[in-house]
């Protein structure tokens, strides 16, 4: 493995469904000689494209799971991370995007900028990923790359500039004109592998000159040297490329390439552009958090000689067992070395280190900083950071929010039952915000997560990847109970029904606290409750928290202080004091103004401005409070706080309101008190459910 970080590119290829992402990847792998035959996505040979390694993907012609693959072009090493195209902002998508240094945004020359391109673009923006655009399918009838460039400007607000123009269009597409070298490029041979460079056809010279001027104009904003050279009419290729690169890395310029992957046209120049224009790992600043210094952010050097910091971004169950895709940010990860999983402090030795190429692999001895590789048989979850022993840097915050929504699921048959538990085991490892347990009362399997969509994605993945057919119940919001004022309790537990009696008196007060979920304080003096029973009292109170007396939701934000009590020499026992504490809790709780709290979500909708009014209306109807609206050119984003219980099926509503052009993200914000009217509805609902169960 070579070791020049300047020549490494970690890129993603992002696109709207059906704009030819997989075909393009396939061609890239062919021209970089990673594969020796081209299989089309929906090809007649039944082999399917190389990146689509899952059966289902080949069958349907779509790419579902992400894979990382590696290839070489002009002395550069390119890692292609196949980013999941689905919109939902689960932790997994976030992680895939995190490891990219640059991206190719693939657009269809007929369809142009479609709603999902908008989504994909937003994701790139959020993670500040520099990108270049490739307008694919220029051989299709109705192809119009110039219109797509305009859409890039208008709909996505990119400063898009053509780097090429097509020679012919639709069925007559024969090649492209490169506006940097001012030559026409044709692609000969059975698979377009022979690149032939010719003079620009006469009929295109004027257009090429005009577009080149536009390109120089746009690029000279990023280089004074180029601007001077342009004034003196002495623009060189290197000057122009370096200016375009500066603009691209700053995300202020989007160079646009074109061609047709299916017809083998324009792919090699695109690869040149990836090596010339997209950043290498050391061009990008990566931050880690120092666990020992209050998660303070630390900029990582990209030196292979420093201590190791590596990030596991994807787990895969494959034919080789559990595979952990990993990106090394700093230092070198080599076979046989010892490293620590920063999340749990576990040390382990590195076994096999490999480089993946869709579903084939290649053993390598080490992974240097900036590179992507895979490890075998490592016990970890995705999102874990590995570091040299003694280090406490982590790539992601250790804060994992509590789930806010739950769903009961049931397998449809025996086979699904087994597959479902496999799937749940895997998902909980991949995603710390996804949890599962079996309900004590109903014996159903409950899955919990951060939102309706979050759970839906996993249910769908169970079906697709694990062949587990499950039926789902209605989603339930994780309500909580808490108190609003201080109240005293003084409870005597007494039982004398034959045999040993039970006696215990517990007195004190209960009060609300904001900072913690539960606090227990013992202020007993003089031994009115003997020391050995204090822990039994605490246990009794803790037991009461699991199910609040008001509506059976977990109780949080409560401080309990005991300051008096009584015991009996014979009849007092741990059991007796636990019961006394439970009784005392009930007594105090009822007087302490108990209320129900519900999770409030921070909902941000990104929508084209023309739908702003309608979107705000839809948020307002959901007991939402709109914090503000931000105008960002053609799009605007609206930030609001909305109770989770009102957000069910919002994605459908939003889609129909905005012709599918808006998207929203939702994250947990805080727990807040449920308004009186809603609380009454909840009580009523709970009563009815109880009746139904009975």
């Amino acid at each position: 493995m070579e070791n020049n970080i300047q020549k490494v590119r970690n890129i993603g290829i992002s696109a709207h469904i059906d704009s030819g992402k997989t075909t393009l990847t396939e061609r890239i792998l062919f021209y970089t000689k990673r594969i020796h035959a081209i299989h089309d996505v929906k090809g007649k040979d039944g082999v399917g494209a190389t990146m689509d390694s899952m059966e289902l993907e080949k069958e349907r012609g779509i790419t579902i799971a992400s894979a990382a693959t590696f290839c070489k072009w002009q002395g550069h090493e390119i890692n292609i991370i196949d980013t999941p195209g689905h919109v939902d902002f689960t932790i997994e998508v976030e992680r895939s995007l995190r490891v990219l240094d640059g991206a190719i945004l693939v657009l269809c020359s007929v369809g142009g900028v479609q709603s999902q391109s908008i989504t994909v673009d937003q994701q790139m923006k959020r993670y500040k990923v520099p990108c270049l655009a490739f307008i694919n399918k220029c051989d299709r009838s109705g192809a119009n790359p110039l219109r797509v460039i305009n859409q890039l400007k208008e709909k996505l607000g990119h400063n898009a500039v053509a780097m090429q123009i097509p020679v012919g269009l639709e069925a007559d597409l024969t090649g492209i004109v490169d506006l940097v070298i001012m030559k026409a490029i044709y692609f000969d041979g059975d698979n377009g592998e022979d690149v032939r460079i010719e003079e620009i056809p006469d009929n295109l010279i004027d257009e090429a000159l005009q577009k080149r001027e536009e390109l120089i104009d746009a690029a000279s904003m990023f280089s004074d040297e180029l601007m001077e050279a342009a004034l003196e009419d002495q623009v060189t290729e290197d000057l122009l490329i370096s200016a375009v690169r500066s603009g691209t890395l700053a995300r202020e310029l989007t160079p646009v390439f074109m061609g047709s992957a299916y017809k083998n046209k324009g792919v090699q120049p695109l690869l040149d552009a990836v090596t010339n224009l997209l950043p290498c790992p050391s061009d990008v600043e990566n931050e880690a958090l120092d666990m020992e210094d209050n998660e303070k952010s630390v900029i990582l050097s990209s030196s292979p000689d420093d201590d190791l910091v590596a990030f596991a971004f994807k787990l895969e169950d494959g034919q080789y067992g559990q595979l952990t895709y990993i990106r090394v940010y700093r230092g070198t990860l080599a076979k046989g070395m010892t490293m620590v999983n920063v999340r749990n402090g576990k040390k382990f030795k590195v076994g096999r280190v490999a480089r993946m190429h869709a579903d084939q692999m290649e053993d390598i001895g080490k992974i240097d900083a900036g590179y992507i590789g895979a490890l075998f048989g490592i016990e970890c979850a995705s999102g874990d950071t590995f570091a040299s022993p003694g280090m406490s840097l982590t790539m992601t915050s250790m804060f994992v929010p509590e789930p806010v929504i739950s769903l009961a699921i049931a397998p449809k048959d025996n086979k699904s039952q087994i597959n479902m538990s496999k799937a749940l085991g895997r998902f909980t490892k991949e995603d710390p915000t996804f949890r599962t347990h079996v309900s004590d009362e109903t014996k159903e399997t409950i899955i919990e997560g951060m939102g309706e969509l979050h759970l839906e994605v996993y249910v769908e993945r169970m079906r697709r990847e694990y062949d587990a057919e499950v039926s789902t119940g209605k989603p339930r919001v994780a309500y909580r109970e808490t108190i609003t004022r201080k109240a005293q309790f003084n409870y005597i537990h007494k039982k004398q029904t034959g045999g040993a009696g039970q006696f215990g008196r517990v007195a004190g007060y209960i009060e609300p606290i904001a900072e913690e979920e539960f606090l227990f304080e013992n202020k007993i003096t003089g031994g009115s409750i003997p020391t050995q029973f204090i822990s039994a009292c605490e246990k009794g109170f803790r037991q009461s928290l699991a199910k609040g007396p008001k509506m059976g939701f977990p109780v949080t934000g409560v401080k309990i202080v005991i300051n008096d009590g009584a015991s009996h020499a014979v009849d007092s026992s741990e059991m007796a004091f636990q019961s006394a504490a439970r009784g005392a809790f009930k007594e105090g709780y009822a007087k302490a103004g108990p209320v129900i709290h519900e999770p409030i979500m921070k909902v941000v909708v990104e929508t084209p401005t023309e739908f702003q009014g309608a979107v705000m209306g839809s948020l307002n109807q959901r007991r939402g409070m709109i914090v503000g609206a931000q105008d960002e050119g053609p799009m605007c984003s609206i930030e609001s706080r909305i109770p989770l219980s009102e957000m069910f099926s919002y994605s459908t509503v939003l889609r129909s309101l905005t012709q599918g052009k808006a998207q929203f993200t939702m994250e947990f914000n805080a727990y807040k008190q449920v308004p009186q009217q809603i609380m009454e509805e909840l009580v009523e609902k709970a009563r009815e459910e109880k009746k139904n169960v009975a």
Partner: protein
């Protein structure tokens, strides 16, 4: 109760205005200062003063994103709360949030018809009806007359009080009343003009136009450490 405490202690009352509101409905006020002196902070305090009285404020920023504006409010409010030893800042924030709406535009994307459209989106659906408008970051250049007069019509139609920030420059020529000469043409539109003037270690709040201008009340200061308004006694 918390709210009442803060309303009573608001030093703006000392500026010499007899009426509850400094502006009349449909009236314009402006805060003039050089960059970085505290215009936004001053306006946020004016806004908070109204919010604490349950008046709805629409805060429009052409410089900062929503999150940053939000942060301004939290900061200013927590400093005010600190000053008055009020612990439950969060509770205070919760009570004012429903009365505040932040809207941000890019400078080049802002126009009065656009604002009017957004405003009717909000009012027609009963989402939010502002009583006060804060416009932060509007560039007061040669072309300002037309949008300002459009805004005036809008403000009068909806009985809005409108406050602007106006950035001045070091080498700007001033008229006799201290108002920059480039604003003479639009000066009539404004009822109140306040200037933040750094003098030594202090920032003086001077009324250039309006009732406060000729009153003999002590002038106010903006504490450079906290960016809070205080009177000469430090309250």
């Amino acid at each position: 109760m918390l709210k009442n405490d803060l309303i009573l202690q608001n030093p703006l009352r000392l500026m010499g205005y007899k009426a509850e509101e400094i502006l009349t409905p449909g009236g314009f006020g402006a805060v003039l200062a050089r960059a970085g002196v505290g215009k936004t902070s001053f306006l946020v305090q004016l806004s908070l003063n109204s919010l604490l009285k349950n008046k709805n404020v629409l805060h429009i920023s052409l410089d900062d994103p929503v999150n940053k504006v939000n942060l301004w409010y939290r900061e200013v409010l927590s400093r005010i709360a600190d000053q008055h030893n009020i612990e439950q800042t969060n509770q205070l924030v919760e009570t004012i949030l429903p009365h505040r709406f932040i809207m941000t535009f890019r400078v080049e994307g802002f126009s009065v018809p656009k604002l009017e459209e957004r405003l009717s989106d909000l009012t027609e659906q009963n989402i939010f009806s502002p009583q006060m408008l804060i416009i932060d970051g509007l560039p007061f250049d040669e072309s300002i007359y037309e949008p300002l007069s459009q805004l005036k019509t809008l403000a009068q139609k909806n009985s809005l009080y409108v406050w602007f920030t106006m950035r001045t420059h070091r080498d700007e020529t001033m008229g006799p009343d201290g108002i920059p000469t480039r604003l003479i043409k639009v000066a009539d539109l404004f009822e109140v003009v306040v200037q933040l003037q750094p003098e030594g270690k202090e920032i003086h709040v001077k009324a250039l136009k309006g009732e406060g201008a000729d009153s003999d009340h002590p002038s106010l200061l903006l504490d450079p450490a906290t960016m809070l308004i205080k009177d000469q006694t430090g309250r």
